[in-house]
């Protein structure tokens, strides 16, 4: 029964702490500079600051300012045209200090070698990804997220590859590799192969998505675990989050991956020398490259470290799913056409030149209202939550992050009330033709969107196609309407997100209760909005401006009168 047992008080205190943003922990910049300089690097610092659109409750930060420290090992007899990056994010506590130590040790070792052909940048970032983002933007002299940062004084040419290192504890029993980057971008498969080669060589235990690699593919267990790993990767890639500092490098076409040292309380432990040896091997191999990694695949799915599914194999699946939409649209077009030319001509004129009669023109004009309204709804979903957070916090006893999430949900749910408003706007001359035309437009719109998404981020495209396509194809105002309505709601983007969270936790072998799942859902919403504003992740605008309005059109078709 302490002070913080009351949730309102606890929230108020949390808000106070967020506002004050007291520097409870800061990067020991001077020490790092000294340490790097003593090793023989060219040391520079970069200070940055960023005010988040609303307080980040999971990381407990709002107004962030920090300093990145980086040292450059200048390659002898090279003109600083190419470089490699070893980056270590330093969090708000000293969890990653082991990695900083390893970085300094590697720097000291690398400095004594004479074979370097590319400069090596040893980067220690503060506030994990925010620092990485600030550094990358300053390095490439762009400003895409509104980060305020001081310009970099030292540069080292085009970055060829980057490795991020996170060691959560001083005992490492296995190394986990993460490839999924911002907006589902992946590094070249060769970088992963390189890592795997050195893991095998050094006898390191490597995991992918936290799953051990089973060598036995003859029994059922191997493929089953492969499938689990594959599903985990699909879910991760679909989320579009940068799953580690490497994710931000990929935007600048720098091949990068994150290595995480995991302590899973196994018998056999590795000391940091083994990890360092693997890293040294990777850097030496990358150093010898004449061109940047380009030979292997950029689009792949990984069921295991040593196996991959190439784009040629998985893309037809998405293609066939989208074909359903195309065929359905064609069918509707034929039906519309027949209804347009009248019953006496319907039999003999299915030609490719549809006569545009005046009734068709009226039908198209009646589509403008639902299209505009659903798009406006999407726009409101995109803009209002962040814009209206202060209004919400003044009138309701909620924190800013909660306000954003609740506004999101409220606007999302409000969209369901739309058909009752729009059907009155439209003319009721040809009700049947009306919904057909609307559904035709919605189908083409959905197919186009899903096609584009699948090309850039296959996992997201496939996940959305698999859930939305059946409901979209089935929906019509006649028939078992409650069933269709339930199906539509279950396959709406938000429901897909909720389902994915449950599936994710299930695959991680940490199943969720319903309440926990809901909490995780709210957190995921807030994180999604935040990541859009801080790193430029595209999932939130994609869902709110593209797929949600499209989904509303189908909802509209269902309740057409």
């Amino acid at each position: 029964m302490g002070l913080l047992s009351d949730p309102v008080r606890r929230r108020a205190l949390a808000r106070l702490v967020l506002r004050l943003n007291a520097p409870l922990w800061a990067l020991p910049v001077a020490w790092l500079q000294r340490a790097m300089r003593s090793v023989g690097l060219e040391v520079y610092t970069q200070s940055f600051s960023r005010k988040l659109p609303f307080p980040d409750e999971t990381h407990e930060r709002y107004m962030v300012s920090g300093t990145n420290v980086y040292g450059i090992l200048r390659a002898p007899r090279a003109a600083s045209t190419e470089s490699l990056v070893l980056t270590v994010p330093c969090g708000s506590d000293s969890t990653n200090s082991q990695a900083v130590g390893l970085l300094l040790a590697l720097a000291a070792h690398f400095r004594g070698q004479i074979y370097w052909a590319k400069d090596i940048i040893f980067l220690v970032t503060e506030h994990d990804l925010l620092g990485t983002e600030a550094w990358l933007e300053a390095y490439h002299d762009v400003n895409v997220t509104g980060m305020q940062s001081s310009p970099l004084q030292g540069r080292a040419g085009a970055i060829q590859a980057a490795v991020a290192l996170e060691l959560s504890s001083d005992v490492v029993t296995s190394l986990d590799v993460t490839v999924e980057g911002l907006n589902g971008q992946l590094p070249n498969l060769d970088l992963l192969n390189l890592f795997q080669t050195f893991c095998q060589k050094g006898g390191l235990l490597c995991t992918l998505q936290g799953k051990l690699q089973l060598q036995d593919w003859t029994t059922l267990d191997g493929p089953l675990q492969g499938l689990q790993t594959l599903l985990l990767m699909v879910l991760r890639q679909a989320s579009g989050r940068p799953h580690g500092p490497h994710g931000l490098f990929l935007r600048y076409r720098v091949e990068a991956l994150t290595l995480r040292g995991i302590n899973s309380f196994r018998q056999y432990k590795y000391d940091l020398v083994a990890v360092g040896k693997a890293l040294e091997g990777m850097f030496r191999k990358l150093n010898h490259l004449l061109e940047r990694l380009h030979q292997s695949f950029f689009f792949y799915l990984l069921p295991a470290l040593s196996r991959f599914v190439s784009i040629g194999l998985y893309m037809p699946a998405a293609g066939f799913l989208l074909l359903v939409l195309g065929l359905k649209a064609l069918e509707l077009w034929m039906q519309l056409h027949e209804a347009g030319v009248g019953p006496e001509e319907a039999g003999d004129a299915p030609g490719p030149s549809p006569p545009l009669t005046s009734t068709q023109g009226v039908g198209l004009a009646s589509l403008v209202a639902p299209l505009l309204i659903s798009q406006a709804m999407g726009l409101a979903l995109y803009i209002l939550p962040v814009l209206g957070q202060h209004v919400a916090t003044q009138h309701f006893p909620v924190a800013e992050a909660e306000a954003v999430v609740l506004t999101l949900l409220a606007i999302y749910a409000a969209g369901l009330a739309l058909p009752h408003n729009t059907h009155r706007v439209m003319s009721t001359q040809a009700p049947d033709r009306g919904w057909m035309a609307l559904k035709l437009v919605a189908l083409i719109y959905l197919a186009l969107q899903l096609g584009c998404i699948a090309l850039t981020n296959f996992s997201l495209g496939f996940l959305l196609a698999a859930t939305m396509v059946p409901a979209a194809a089935l929906t019509k105002p006649s028939g078992p309407r409650p069933l269709y309505a339930a199906l539509l709601v279950l396959t709406s983007p938000a429901a897909t997100l909720l389902g994915s969270l449950f599936l994710w936790q299930e695959l991680q072998e940490a199943p969720l209760s319903l309440a926990e799942g809901w909490q995780l859902f709210l957190v995921a919403l807030a994180q999604g909005v935040l990541e859009h504003h801080t790193y430029g992740a595209l999932l939130f605008p994609l869902l709110s401006l593209g797929l949600y309005p499209c989904w509303l059109l189908f909802w509209n078709v269902l309740f057409w009168k």
């Binding site: 003109a79 600083s80 045209t81 190419e82 002299d141 310009p151 040419g157 085009a158 076409r253 004449l290 061109e291 940047r292 380009h294």
Partner: protein, 511 residues
């Protein structure tokens, strides 16, 4: 008095023949001037000064005829036996940090300080009455000056004019910080001027512009001064000053260019006919901020240089009594323009021609000290022709380093040396003279990634095209090289040929 009359007669005698027909020479004179000072912050300060000087001794003479000197103030001096009077009304605060030192500092609100003659018996009573009268003259709340806000400073506030003794008993000083200065204070102040606001510089005193500024200070200073070099008798001097600072941001819409019309919404049309001197000064001292110089239009005929407040200043002088100045254009609108000097810059740019010559950009830049200069060039990534890719296209394409050639001023002046006798390394550096040395720097080359197609695909394409070409070529070759000759039509119609085909298929000899 005895000395004053012959002197007056002497003046009369000297000036009589060239006088304007008056019986008495003008014993009073008016000099007016306006100083326009561009301030370091980009704002502009305008300071008016009207000086009326009267060669008479107000206290001792029963003066009844006033010409240029305002009667209201003259009577005040004789009635309250004033020696000096300083009154200022100020709205705003002079920002010394951004505007530099002012000509005349004044506190915000109303300030009044007075030296009385030593003949005054009850100074406090006179002070009280004086402040009330001044309150009426200037429409200000000076009547609120009483013993609670009056002090008698002993060290500061020495008499500014002629004074025999400085007994602080006769000094009174008061400040009313709350006093709000407005048009009602300006109007009586303007009425004290001989030309009022009808002609001369006072035309510019338009209330709505003067109070639309960031600083406004008007003041009246009365003091006795020496009439001549030997100081045998005294004259009375009335200085009316008005300082305003125009806000560059509000008034100029962000531009730093000024003109009289833009500042005062008036131009000068004629000098005050009563004034013996009427001038406009513009501070054209080159302040080396932002490498800009001030250009005034019309160009000044004369300039005036002096050391003001410890710094050397140059002023452009415009004499309104000079008929050429106003007659030329009927009105006189002084314009101030900030001009960046042509940065003795040299930019040479040769655009690239695809596959024939590269871009060449040469710039001559003068860099300020301790600064960072960033030169960035936008470019677009384009696809090359497929034969133009190097064998390692994914390595990137090199952009050659930039060259920086500089003539750096030397810290230590090198003495001219005998080239033959000096060490060999001296001759490596081409030195023009001792004061500077030549330096050439190169930047690192830049590696740019161009969009590179997947070269495994062209391979497939080549294979496929070759197949297609081979097939087409083969058949065309056949068609073109083979000779065709017409076969004689066989006897029998279509039916017979069909029958023959069937028979051939069956293996039966044809018909």
């Amino acid at each position: 008095m005895a000395a004053a009359v012959p002197l007056g007669l002497l003046v009369l005698l000297l000036l009589g023949p060239v006088d304007w027909g008056h019986a008495e020479p003008p014993r009073d004179s008016l000099r007016e001037e306006l100083v326009i000072t561009p301030l370091p912050s980009g704002d502009v300060a305008a300071t008016f000064q009207f000086r009326t000087r009267w060669d008479s001794e107000l206290q001792r003479e029963g003066v009844s005829h006033y010409r240029l000197f305002p009667k209201a103030l003259g009577q005040l001096i004789s009635k309250y036996s004033l020696r000096e009077l300083h009154l200022s009304f100020t709205q705003g605060f002079w920002r010394t940090r951004y505007w530099g030192p002012p000509f005349l500092q004044a506190p915000s609100g109303a300030e009044l300080w007075v030296w009385f003659q030593d003949t005054v018996t009850d100074v406090d009573k006179s002070w009280k009455e004086l402040s009330n009268v001044l309150s009426g003259i200037f429409c200000a709340s000076l009547n609120f000056i009483d013993s609670t806000n009056t002090v008698t400073p002993t060290a500061s506030f020495k008499p500014l004019g002629l004074a025999n003794d400085t007994d602080h008993y006769f000094l009174r000083y008061a400040v009313l910080p709350r006093e709000v200065v407005c048009t009602e204070n300006l109007t009586p102040w303007k009425k004290l001027l001989p030309c009022s606001s009808k002609a001369g510089l006072s035309v510019l005193l338009k209330a709505d512009r003067l109070f639309h500024t960031s600083y406004h200070s008007q003041a009246v200073h009365i003091r006795p001064v020496c009439r001549n070099a030997r100081c045998t008798s005294i004259s009375w001097e009335l200085r009316q000053t008005l300082s305003v600072v125009f806000d560059a941001f509000i008034t100029g819409q962000g531009k730093k260019d000024w003109s009289l019309f833009r500042m005062f919404s008036r131009t000068l049309t004629e000098p005050c006919p009563l004034a013996s001197e009427s001038r406009v000064y513009v501070d054209i001292t080159s302040c080396n901020q932002d490498n800009e110089t001030l250009e005034v239009n019309p160009p000044p005929t004369t300039t005036y240089q002096d050391i003001i407040l410890g710094t050397q200043k140059t002023y452009a002088v415009y004499d309104l009594l000079d008929t050429a100045l106003i007659n030329n254009s009927r009105n006189f609108n002084l314009q101030l323009k900030w001009k960046r000097p042509p940065e003795n810059g040299y930019i040479h740019y040769e655009p690239a021609q695809d596959r024939r010559q590269p871009h060449l950009l040469e710039m001559l830049i003068q860099l300020p000290a301790n600064s960072v200069t960033k030169v960035s060039i936008q470019f677009e990534r384009a696809l090359l022709k497929w034969t133009e890719y190097t064998p390692d296209p994914n390595h990137g394409f090199y952009v050659s380093p930039s060259v920086l050639s500089a003539l750096v001023p030397s810290v230590v002046a090198a003495k001219p040396v005998d080239w033959e006798g000096s060490p060999l390394f001296n001759t490596l550096f081409p030195v023009s003279d001792g004061s500077s040395y030549f330096l050439r720097l190169y930047t690192e080359p830049l590696l740019v990634n161009l969009p590179t197609p997947d070269f495994s695909m062209p391979y497939n394409v080549i294979c496929l095209t070759c197949t297609v070409v081979a097939v087409c070529y083969g058949s065309f070759y056949n068609l073109l090289t083979r000779t065709f000759h017409i076969e004689e039509p066989r006897t029998g119609g279509l039916a017979k040929r069909l029958a023959n085909l069937i028979r051939r298929a069956r293996g039966v000899p044809p018909l």
